[in-house]
């Protein structure tokens, strides 16, 4: 087991290195940061000096190496735009994105699994069919459209919820949270739904189809033939067997909730790392982009590792295979 984890962590490191390499090879196509950094009255000498200072003339492999050298020491460089350390900027912004992603993830998981089970058990019921039909909306509408629709209905027409920002936040240590104020919680509702809706419908449809498959199995019949309660048959015997594929997909989806928060954050002007990244692209703020991409890949890789470990927790057959 420990050997497996170590092996996986090493593999993950390799993945991270490759992601960074690909990212750095592409930064030169985004534009020239110098244009934005120096004002109108720049001289060629200024440009040359700055370019040399930032190492922009080096081959991208060398730039990447310099970035890595700094990164392993916890130094992600200085933002071209804000002139502050990137680590500090991201640490400022991360709580907003992480809180949003956590709430969306919990919404998506809770409702996704719950509704999935419900629609599978009441396969032919009216409400189950209604939910299934409505879920097509969640799968087919693009995120930004859902966001705009929600803003139109709940902010513009009804005026119940704010259409942008985080509301008031409270500082706890270095972490700014919007969980503790009413306006913060209110501001969280629409973005969280927008971000989580697609994942929720996806998880729900997956749970439903897996559950229907499992309910046809002999061991479910046998569980019934032994006189077990429906509750026990559905939630103990059936649900557990649907979890392995569900966890795989859910793990990847949770990663993408954080990664694709970019769109939701743009629609709601949510002050998180996604919005930071969009602004960084416009300004060709290479240190910020590099740090953001690395952060996202760390999360993806980390979640994947957790998912693989969860398999072991759920399916005893894998534990045995691991020993050989």
């Amino acid at each position: 087991m420990l050997a497996y984890i170590i092996r996986r962590v090493l593999q993950s490191l390799l993945v991270l290195l490759v992601v960074g390499l690909v990212a750095f090879s592409m930064f030169r196509f985004v534009g020239d940061p110098i244009d934005n950094m120096l004002g109108q009255e720049r001289t060629v000498a200024d440009i040359e000096r700055l370019r040399d200072q930032l190492g922009l003339d080096d081959p991208f492999v060398v730039q990447y190496w310099n970035f890595l050298e700094g990164a392993v020491q916890g130094n992600f460089g200085i933002s071209y735009r804000q002139g502050r350390p990137v680590a500090e900027i991201i640490a400022d912004r991360a709580p907003a994105t992480l809180e949003l992603a956590a709430v969306s993830g919990i919404l998506a998981l809770g409702f996704g699994i719950g509704l999935g089970i419900f629609t599978a058990i009441r396969r032919n019921g009216f409400s189950a069919n209604l939910i299934m039909t409505l879920s097509l909306v969640g799968v087919s509408l693009p995120t930004f459209l859902i966001g705009i629709l929600l803003i139109y209905i709940f902010s513009v027409e009804l005026g119940w919820l704010p259409s942008f920002g985080r509301g008031e936040t409270t500082q706890i240590g270095g972490w700014s949270t919007s969980f503790l104020t009413e306006s913060g919680l209110k501001a969280l509702i629409l973005p969280a739904i927008t971000l989580g809706l697609y994942q929720m419908t996806l998880i729900m449809r997956l749970v439903r189809s897996e559950m229907l498959e499992v309910l046809r199995q002999d061991y479910i019949r046998f569980a019934r033939a032994r006189g077990l309660r429906e509750k026990s048959v559905n939630f103990r015997h059936a649900l557990k067997n649907t979890l392995v594929p569900v966890i795989t997909v859910t793990g990847l989806q949770l990663g993408s909730i954080i990664a694709f928060a970019i769109i939701t954050e743009t629609v709601f002007q949510w002050p998180g790392v996604g919005l930071l990244f969009i602004n960084a692209i416009q300004f060709v703020d290479i240190p910020v982009m590099a740090a953001y991409l690395m952060l996202i890949s760390v999360m993806f890789v980390g979640i994947n590792l957790i998912v693989d470990l969860l398999y072991f927790a759920i399916d005893p057959r894998l534990r045995i295979d691991g020993r050989h």
Binding site: Y219, R221, F222, R226, G227, L228, E230, H237, K240
Partner: protein, 325 residues
Amino acid sequence: MSAEPVLSVRDLVVEIPTRGGLLRPVDRVSYDIGAGEILGVVGESGAGKSMTGNAVIGLLDRPARITSGEIWLNGERIDQLSMRELRKRRGKQIGMVFQDPLTSLNPLIPIGQQLTETIREHLPVTAAEARQRAIRSLEEVGIPAAAERIDSYPFEFSGGMRQRVVIALALCAEPSLVIADEPTTALDVSVQAQIIALLKRLCRERGTAVMLVTHDMGVIAETADRVAVMYAGRLAELGPVREVLTEPHHPYTSGLMGSTPLASKGQPRLHQIPGSMPRLGALPDGCAFNPRCPKAQDKCRQNPEPRIGPADPRAACWFPLGETA
């Protein structure tokens, strides 16, 4: 047979509504099983054997349903009970053994937990007592080192061992009736005999009534006390196993026996019954067997076969073999 039968099925009809009309996979079937008795139910695939068993335990897959007839278990009528009441009797009064031990155990739950959950569902015992009972029932079905293996997962057992676990599960709440649906079909030949012997021994010891559904005449000959032969959803012949097998009254049973390697020793080729069992949607008029029957006469083509009763207490036939031959 002893005083009151454990299971008594009267004129049971199971119907499946389809677009092409109403199908009757089980058509007016009646039989009794007494305590400690093993009734073998034989027939071809689709003859309604398993469907009868599923109807008794109340696990028919929709849209199949019981449309008429009665099922009595220990003096209580159970075919009209609510799902909830029926559930309480499943496992406790009726146990069921399925065909494939590889798929009938939940792969993600240790066998001990599957046993204790069943025991605790039906008997008022504590978790520790349930565990003791589970170990004892694993010992009874011949699982070596039961106390150590109780926390193992199903995939850690061989097919034969898993079927023993399945039997332990079916019997752990001491039901008075066990329905064994092809319990050995998925097993190695070498293991089949052990499993059958085990089932037989346990039921003898406890006086459990057994409905043994199979298409294996050899298993029936070795195990059953009485045998019910089914054809196209109907009961063709019902009687003590020795008599039915050695001296069948129904032409179908006779044909079936002729087609069994066991009974036709020495013949160069196995006998075949011409034709095949009709589909349920296309049953012939008169006796269901008449197009394939060597003795069919006009009467057989015009009138439905007689019920097992006055004409022949054993076979549903107008011209039973015992008398005309």
